[in-house]
Structure formats: structure tokens, C-alpha cells
């Protein structure tokens, strides 16, 4: 077995260990919070829903919340191993069918943002490096700083309001799945993806820019220049490929952020994704739903990290030393 394969297997085993740790955290997170699903259901519609003390006790027993934490955890874990995450407390529906269509929304949102961020960040970064200290560079750097600094939900809100007021366009309703109506789907998701992409795009831009600047000043480019290559050729043929890798790395690191940012952006743009389910679940103390979603988010994050590791190991076997 090759060393890199061995390394990857070890990484995979560690990821499983991490996933198990996440199940514990996911289980504990909401249980340590005061109140429970029964009180939370009333908190969700204050002044509307009200139960007597006896009715609350009865409901707790119905939901199995009167069992010990250990029993609840083990029965949940057992369910997971049988691929049955249980039923949502709020809706009484099995969690699988509830979550499945939402995965597509959030993944699509995250991928579109990553793509937008990668593309915009890299192109702008290389261009800014080529015209270092010029007006484009200055403008792009300022914009990147602004994008890094403004809260995403606020940007989204201002975008929705300004578009509605100025162009009479409304961009935050009527999600359609992509297999239903691709055009409608994209027009709904792209505005959200763009807002979500602002921060990662700025980070990619900064890293690509500084890498390109360094490469353009390196001996290897000087040699290329001496050989009489055109500036365009040097920029896109030599500097760009070398600078793209750190950009992709930065993007990979931002993936977890994208998933986290989706929680807020889905709320503003009304997209029926995992993030909204999660927020709603936390507010209603919907234990089974939140546990499963936290696990799912954790799984996506680990999967991304693992894939990136695998790619690097292929590209550069020395990486394993640093890990």
C-alpha cells in the first residue's frame, strides 16, 4: 500500500471518530438549554398557544422526553445506525423526507456561491496584480474590504429592498427546484448566492492577488520575460495557474463558512434550505431534527476537508508531513 493511501485511510478513520464526537455535541447542544420542546412550541407562538401543566406533562411523555438522557442518546444513535433519524417533534413527520429536498437547496446555494466567489475572486485578483497599484487594483481592494466587513444578511436585505423599490423586482420568493424549472430556480437562487459569495470572493481575491504579485516578481517569471514572452502570456499562462491553487485552498477553507452563512441568507431570501430548518429547529427545541441537521452539517464539512486532503495528497505527497 502506498504511503498516501495509508495516510488517507488514517484520515478517514479519524473522520469517523470526529463524526462520533459530533453526535455527542449535537445531542448535548440543545439538551443543556433550559426549557424543552413542549415549552418551545408555546414560545413559538406566544399569546396564541397555551397548555395546562397536566397537558404539558402528558405531551412530554408522548415525546419520550421523560426518559434519561443516556436512554434518549442511545436510542437516537441506534436509529441512526439503522438509517432512521426519527421524526420531527414540531411536525411529527419522519426527518428523512423533511430534510431531503432541503439538502439540494443548501448544496446548490453553497456550490453556486463557491463558484461565483472562486471565479470572481481569482479573475479580479490576477487582474489587480497585473495592474498593481493602478485604479482597478485600488477599487478592487476597497470593494474586497467592504465585502469582508458588511454583514451578509444586511447586504441581502438592502439588496432585496433596493431592487424592489428601484426596479420593482422582487428576488426573495417562490423557490422552484432546479429539475422543475431551471430558469426560475436560478433567478431565485443567484441573488442569494451572490450575496453569500461576497465574503469568500474577497478572501480569494486577496490571496490570489498577493500570490500573483509575488510570482510576477519571481526569477521564474523574469526568465520567461527574458525569453521574450508577452505580458498576457506570462500572466495567464504562467502566473495564473500558479496563483490559482492558493485561491482554491482559501475557497475550500471557506466552505464551512458558506454552510454557516446559508443559515442566515436562507432566512432573508426565503429559500427552503437546511439552514432555515435548523434555525426553526433550534427555536422550537426540535431535538431529533436539530441533532440530525448538526450531524449533516458536520458530515459535509468533514467531507469537504477530506476531499481537499485527498486532492492535495495527490498533488503533493509532502502534505502529509505537515498534517
Amino acid at each position: 500500500m502506498s504511503a498516501s493511501a495509508h495516510y488517507l485511510i488514517r484520515r478517514a478513520a479519524l473522520s469517523v471518530l470526529t463524526l462520533w464526537l459530533i453526535t455527542i455535541i449535537a445531542f448535548a447542544l440543545l439538551r443543556i438549554a433550559p426549557g424543552d420542546a413542549v415549552l418551545a412550541a408555546m414560545a413559538r407562538s406566544p399569546g396564541e398557544m397555551s397548555l395546562s401543566a397536566a397537558a404539558m406533562e402528558e405531551r412530554r411523555a408522548d415525546l419520550g422526553l421523560d426518559r434519561s438522557y443516556a436512554a434518549q442518546y442511545l436510542s437516537w444513535l441506534g436509529g441512526l445506525l439503522r438509517l432512521d433519524p426519527g421524526a420531527s417533534i414540531a411536525t411529527g413527520l419522519p426527518i428523512g423526507p423533511e430534510v431531503a429536498p432541503r439538502i439540494a437547496v443548501t448544496i446548490q446555494l453553497a456550490l453556486l456561491s463557491a463558484l461565483t466567489a472562486g471565479l470572481a475572486g481569482t479573475l479580479a485578483g490576477v487582474a489587480a496584480a497585473a495592474w498593481k497599484d493602478g485604479p482597478f487594483d485600488a477599487a478592487a481592494r476597497t470593494l474586497a474590504l467592504a465585502a469582508l466587513s458588511a454583514p451578509a444578511f444586511w447586504l441581502g436585505l438592502i439588496l432585496v429592498l433596493a431592487l424592489a423599490a428601484w426596479a420593482n423586482i422582487f428576488v426573495a420568493a417562490g423557490y422552484r427546484p432546479i429539475w422543475d424549472d431551471p430558469a426560475a430556480n436560478l433567478t431565485r437562487i443567484m441573488p442569494a448566492a451572490t450575496v453569500l459569495a461576497a465574503r469568500p470572493a474577497a478572501l480569494v481575491f486577496r490571496i490570489v492577488r498577493i500570490s500573483t504579485v509575488e510570482i510576477l516578481e519571481s526569477d521564474f517569471i523574469r526568465t520567461a520575460r527574458a525569453r521574450g514572452l508577452t505580458e498576457t502570456r506570462i500572466l495567464w499562462g504562467h502566473a495564473f495557474p500558479a496563483a490559482a491553487l492558493p485561491g482554491i485552498t482559501a475557497l475550500g477553507v471557506q466552505t464551512v463558512f458558506l454552510l454557516s452563512g446559508a443559515v442566515v441568507i436562507e432566512q432573508v431570501f426565503g429559500l427552503p434550505g437546511l439552514g432555515r430548518s435548523l434555525t426553526e429547529g433550534v427555536l422550537t427545541r426540535d431535538y431529533p431534527l436539530v441533532q440530525f441537521l448538526v450531524l449533516l452539517f458536520g458530515f459535509f464539512a468533514l467531507l469537504t476537508n477530506f476531499t481537499m486532503d485527498a486532492v492535495y495528497t495527490r498533488l503533493d505527497p509532502r502534505v502529509r508531513l505537515a498534517a
Binding site: A146, P151, S260, V264, L278
Partner: protein, 273 residues
Amino acid sequence: MMKRFVASGATRAGLVIGLCLVLMLSIGPQMDETDGRGDLQNTLSGPAWPHPLGTDQLGRDALARVARGLRGSLLIGISVALISGVVGGLVGLASGFWRGWPDLLLQRLTDALMALPLLVMALAVIAVTGPTRAGVVIALSVAFTPLVMRVVRSSALALQQAGHVEAARASGATDWHVIAAHLSPNALAPWAVVVSTQVGGAALAEASLSFLGAGPGGDASLGALLGGEAQTYAFAAPWLIVWPGIALALVSVSANLIGDGLARSASPFSRRN
């Protein structure tokens, strides 16, 4: 290093913005002549003297509230950066220096914590602590510490292989001496970069928490202003969400610029940010 830090125009801009914000902190609350109770005859009025940023639904001066919110956001940002910086820094240093099974365990825990969406974790912690400023600080510190830990640990790891550390080792220096004299000073720069940008990061995260309904209330932070009732008046009184948003962005701009300045002056790590 200090010279290089202050010399950059961008850094100076960051410092100036920071100073302006601090100035606003002290002047802003003076605009309020009603002791925070508001003037009910003058609710939701647009920006006009004597209320340059307008008034809110209870007729309270928006500038005074932005200033108080700014104070809260800065407090949260700085506290989170310091707590996660100190805890993450010490644990990361130790973990990177001694390695062994505690390091392995800590790494898995860090993996697990970093794999969780920050906001979800903070939402849950706030459910425990209650939606107060202190609660938000605890929640965000828990969420931010793993990142600092990871950065410091990896610089401690890298430094161990550096020539001067190996030389000190060879000449019989104790662990403590190596940590104090060689690792800490060199890990300080990347640590400072991460911690300084976390001031802005924490202020932004706090706003997201407030937006999701889990932040402190009133004018306890800029997020509280953005995530509060002002959202339901966004069309009628845009000034109530525009200004706190801009103030928040400025906090983050200032923290980012200062962080960049630190990064540039601490050269070998210039790319880490």
C-alpha cells in the same frame, strides 16, 4: 516592526476609523436628552436636526442608540477576541509543543467544533446562557477558540523544526525556556493577526445571531439594533437599519485594516491572512 506597522496608509486608515468610532462612542449618547425613554411625540422621524440619524419607534435618538450599540459591539468583539485569543493561544501552543495523545484528542475536538456551523453552536450556547451580552461573548468565544488554537498550533509545529529552536534544544534548554524564549515570540505575529481580525468577526457574528433572534436586546449591540423591531419598519424608517449596518461594517473594516497591517509588518506570515 512597530514602524512598519504604522507606516502603511491602510493601517493608518484603520486606526483613524477606529479612533472615529471611539469618538462617536463618547459623543453619541449626549444626543439623547430623554434619558433613553424617548419622546413619544417624535417617533420614527427621519434624519433631521436635532436627531441627525432620526428617531426610533419610541422616539429615541438613533445616533445615541447607534453609539451605545457600537459600544456593545466593540465590547463583545474585543472580549471574544481576547478570550478566544488567550485560551486558544495557550492551548494551541501547548498542544503543538508537547503533541502526544492530548494533542490528538484536542485535534479531533477542534475538528468537530470547526465542522459545526458557528451560528448553530452559538444559538445553542445562548439558549443556555440567556440572550445577554455575556451570553453572546461566551457563545462566540466557544465558537472562535478552535480557529486560534489551530493557527497557533500549526505555527508552534512549524517553529519546532526551525534552526534556532533545534539549536536551543541541543544546548539543553528546558521545555519552558524554549516555549517562552523561542516559540511564543515567533507565534505571536500570526496570533495577533487572527485575534485582531476576530474583533470584527465577532461583531459580525453577533449581528447574525441577533438577526436569528438570539442576540442581546435593546441597544446592547449593533446587531441588536439591526435584528430588532427596526426590521419590521425597513421601508418606513430605513435609517434604523442603514446606520447600524454601516457602523458595524466600519468596526469590521477597522479591525481588518489593523489586522492586515500587523500581517504585513510580521512578514514571514504575511500570507496567512
